[in-house]
Symmetry: C2
Subunit: 430 residues, 2 copies
Amino acid sequence: MERGTDYNRMDIDELNRQYQALQEKYEGFKSRGMSLDMSRGKPCPEQLELSRGMLDILSSEDSLKAMDGTDCLNYGGIDGIPEAKQLFAQMLEVGASEILVGGNSSLTMMHDALSRAMLHGVYGSATPWGKLPKVKLLCPSPGYDRHFAICELLGIEMIAVDMLPDGPDMDAVERLVREDDSIKGIWCVPKYSNPEGITYSDETVDRLAGMKTKASDFRIMWDDAYTVHHLTTKPDRLKNILEACKKAGNPDRAFIFASTSKITFPSAGVAVLASSEANLNFIRKQLSVQTIGPDKINQLRHVRFLQNMDVLQAHMEKHAAIIKPKFDIVLNKLESELGGKNIASWIKPNGGYFLSLNTLDGCAKEVVRLAAEAGVTLTKAGATYPYGSDPRDRNIRIAPTFPSAEELETAIDVLCVCVQLASIKKVLAS
Amino acid sequence: MERGTDYNRMDIDELNRQYQALQEKYEGFKSRGMSLDMSRGKPCPEQLELSRGMLDILSSEDSLKAMDGTDCLNYGGIDGIPEAKQLFAQMLEVGASEILVGGNSSLTMMHDALSRAMLHGVYGSATPWGKLPKVKLLCPSPGYDRHFAICELLGIEMIAVDMLPDGPDMDAVERLVREDDSIKGIWCVPKYSNPEGITYSDETVDRLAGMKTKASDFRIMWDDAYTVHHLTTKPDRLKNILEACKKAGNPDRAFIFASTSKITFPSAGVAVLASSEANLNFIRKQLSVQTIGPDKINQLRHVRFLQNMDVLQAHMEKHAAIIKPKFDIVLNKLESELGGKNIASWIKPNGGYFLSLNTLDGCAKEVVRLAAEAGVTLTKAGATYPYGSDPRDRNIRIAPTFPSAEELETAIDVLCVCVQLASIKKVLAS
């Protein structure tokens, strides 16, 4: 594929001509009155079809007893049925006593974990976090906007830390947590990270598990949302954080979150929390006041449908077969339209739900604005940073799974024109 | 039916003879090695069968679009699908814009409402409740132990208020809330109350809605758990609290909670919160950070199964046909074994899940202990009062729905023997 010319090497006339041509193209898109949404990581309808069978998996004829005899229709049990614990413990490579299976939303589990920490502290806390003058969380960025929203809601101060190719900048992380006891934790999407698709290296995992923290009740919020969401046949391997924490002598440091929202149904999945037994015992006490227990029938549905890790992996391959071509469309377009022009960079992810595009500094907001005017909704510029503020105004999250291939082609065409328009303006102004 | 002799009028010899006879009966029960649980208000297996059809109501062939076009399988919508709002708004006699449909547990909604109040305040709060030196809630007692557990967990001080035949002692309530701005709310189970089965009078509802409260952000926690759970063909009528609050000029005072846990499945029901639009708008903002939205498929299942209020009412009549005979067993036994003896009193409820038995002062713990030794588990004595402490040690909650009729007969036989044993000891000691 022929690559474009470096915009920084073009002279002003060339740039202006290029701008005119792009502007015409842009006006063409605008006149089509499109309405394409690429803002959220939603499975597409074809992906949802893969799990339709789960709607038939239980019938009124079936026994609805869990393997321990619990009637899944009635009250009882606040941390999940044993067979669900078994399955998801395998998925996360933890023990069946190290997992708690809940409702339909891992986001709720994360919110509630921090909300409980503010109100009651975590296992081993001397003081509820909310009673302290200040609570801070490290936020490797770009990261997941909904994590940041939880912090904002709870009044937890966010400290952005750069993401490097193998995870958060651990030198910075180690320095910060060693010095400041108000830093109580760190957000991590350790595998196929949101938005960059990066998987943390073993060294990163070990450093997170072993680092000295001034706060004795420091917690790693390990959002393993994409643990089985591979896009290649050679999946990334993520080192087991719970094991690493145990080995490092910090057995209670990690909360692992995951869900089947993007395995079965986003609306009606099953969410899990894995952690040390001490952490789970502490949490169960509060949970037994908060709830009469999770929907056990939906857990049973999941276990009967997903069965075991082999069936689950085969199911995930069907997801990959649907969305991998969409990632390829984006990557090919980015390469053909923006490659070689020295105005944007991106990473090819091996899994997950997102692509992350970095423009020239100071261009992201303008690109998102231009795209919106042409009918393409992107995730708000800045959303991938704490307080919605990207210090270099360059990161744009691309969510390619929901639109059809055709819509995606158009949307990325629009995006690429917008990136070029904004870049030329930037280059001309500098 | 012949009634017993007043124990207070028996002489010591008569009482001792009676005690011996009862003790023999008691030992007979003990030797049977029974294990009967009457501690929790759980539907029995036959009740669960009534809703089995709901497991087949959706199939993979069906459209899973809500009436507004929302795909119930995918992300989207944080406060329930429109048809679920419609149905449950009818059930609670509120507007469709005054309701929010959530997950499987109204207890979670209540916990979260207070947890949010502590962390962020409620609509109109000057300060999050948790930042105030003290927060108190009024607890009409006997009441629901799980309400009290939420207060204990959140560090909310509980003030017991007596229950009268038409609701809480409103003279006491009005006096307390007028004087103390740290009293931020009141727990109410206004219809077929837990445990007494009392329904609040119109006057009580109006006084709650209209009373002057020193706290400007006072909230009524209106747990309308048994709103359609009638035991007679002449159901109690409860005055609409939301209307009453509006009329009284306190439109944001009430949070109404309900669920289908005891309509369909305890484990997989649908919970709702009804309140003013201002309250719901305030809550939705926080909810959108806490969750990706409730299980919309389960909401659709409920709407397709329960359809409308006529079908729902007919369904509830089937519940009543199963559990009414159980209430009758208890009431008949209590009358035949304890009637006329002046050692116990109870109220005949028109609905709900419980009967409340008051023994002579100082006897409840002993009765529950004796029953447990004979293999009958009752709700812990004191559980119906804040901090598990019944000041007169006399209230025992009876949950008759789960055991079979045969088990229930035996369990109440045991209970009645235990009440008499404890009463004679008490009378002899005084």
